[in-house]
Amino acid sequence: MPEPGRPWPSDQELLGRHVAGDADAFGELFRRHRDRLWAVALRTVCDPEEAADALQDAMVSAFRRAADFRGESAVTTWLHRIVVNASLDRLRRRSARPVLPTGDEQAFEALVAQDGDPARAADTRLDVDAALRLLPPHQRAALVVVDMLGFSVADAAAILDISPGTVKSRCARARTRLLPHVRHLQGNRSATESVQPAQGGDT
């Protein structure tokens, strides 16, 4: 996304320079986005080692395949897509040893308990991360991209290479599944605003 008024080059420009042989351009481009890309990888694979591998795979792949970028989407969408694919690939490869059986309440409790210090259970991020692990990978990836990273459904569809309708249904299912596990956190944050006392039809 070109950022008007900024002194630095747009993503697309950097990618173009990289394809043209500029040795620094890709590094600058990737550095711009890698924090977010890390978040996608980590939350999709739920394991820092696998996430680091996935991000590395994706970076190398993007570096080598930059010439294939057609400009149909934003560069950042393209990068996210590569990272999501690399992450799901990693998950597929280790599917024989899943992080947790999905939807397993006891496993969730165990995961929270495993962190020892009970005060830490109050840490929202920890709880949310733990709850995210309960989701099937594809639902999780959709939810991460839409709800956590704030991509539009259309961009998410491009990133995940699925239809917008599938993005919506995966997100809907994921939110439903997550609700019992994060309901207790909603009071901690801004989410409180949306949980009102039952006063439905106020007409």
Partner: protein, 285 residues
């Protein structure tokens, strides 16, 4: 089935929220919601899931992963002049240009500013050893090979400096490796600091580099605590130690004038600083 008694289940509500329940089904849900407190509350909670997820801060990219990516990328750049790309790629010669070490394409570790470039790769091997082996263990072991193998192209002539790892690390000095509050390691220390000699004891502690194996990746809670205390300031060191006998996290930040140390108790988190003590250290101890 009459509408008033048939509540909408969570999944149907979620689909409705996502715009998937259209037509008559959507209209029926909308009508029901208008008159049902219970389903409205559930609907609000579903909306709250997205709000909650959006409010969770993104995890920071760990320094050791960033370093590994830099090293792998440097290797990619260096290897770019393979037959396929040879025609158009003025690829850098690995080992040529000490000037390249400082160029902007790559983010070297944050101590780049203070450490001669040639030592940077060696520091990465020594100081970052724990993190690298942690990350690169098991399936990711190629990470070590590529990091180590490509380090010279990151640091210019770093391969010459790679041998005396210990001395390079010592030469880099414990103080110079500033860390970001987003990416840092915690040093476990056996020290028990007291109010009376906090400044002196900390200064002594900071004079020596962390002992091997004492650096760890912080827990989520500690990360939140440290970020809370440090604000945006660079970190000199984060210690997990004791203060007046009780477990404490000690965060030393670099400020304009010198260094600032915060001692936080076990309740320190993103929401609560739990500061037990605070002191300034003169710079350049």
């Amino acid at each position: 089935m009459s509408a008033p008694v048939t509540h909408v289940d969570a999944e149907a509500l979620a689909e409705f929220r996502a715009g998937l329940a259209t037509g008559r089904r959507g209209a029926r849900i909308a009508a029901h919601l208008a008159g049902c407190d219970r389903c409205t509350a559930l609907d609000d909670q579903l909306a709250g899931v997205s709000v909650l997820l959006a409010s969770v801060p993104a995890p920071a990219l760990p320094d050791r992963v960033a370093q590994r990516l830099d090293a792998v990328l440097a290797a990619e750049v260096a290897g770019r002049d393979d037959p396929e790309r040879a025609g158009r790629e003025p690829s850098p010669e690995p080992g040529t240009p000490s000037r390249r070490a400082g160029h902007r394409g790559f983010r070297l570790p944050s101590w780049r500013v203070l450490v001669p470039a040639a030592a940077a790769a060696a520091v990465l091997l020594a100081g970052g050893g724990y993190g690298l082996s942690l990350i690169a263990g098991g399936s990711g072991s190629h990470g070590i090979a590529s990091s180590a193998g490509s380090a010279p192209s990151v640091g210019g002539g770093a391969n010459r400096a790679a041998a005396p790892v210990g001395s390079a690390h010592a030469g880099a000095s414990a103080r110079s490796a500033l860390m970001s509050p987003a990416n840092f390691t915690v040093v476990t220390s056996g020290a028990d600091f007291t109010e009376a000699d906090l400044g002196q004891a900390l200064a002594a502690e900071l004079r020596v580099p962390p002992a091997a194996g004492t650096e760890q990746i912080p827990s989520t809670r500690m990360r939140a605590c440290v970020q809370h205390l440090a604000g945006g300031a660079d970190l000199v060191r984060v210690l997990s130690a004791r203060y007046e006998g009780q477990p404490a996290t000690i965060v030393v930040t670099r400020t304009g004038q010198g260094e600032e140390a915060w001692v936080a108790g076990p309740d320190c988190s993103g929401a609560n600083r739990d500061v037990l003590a605070r002191t300034s250290l003169p710079s350049g101890i």
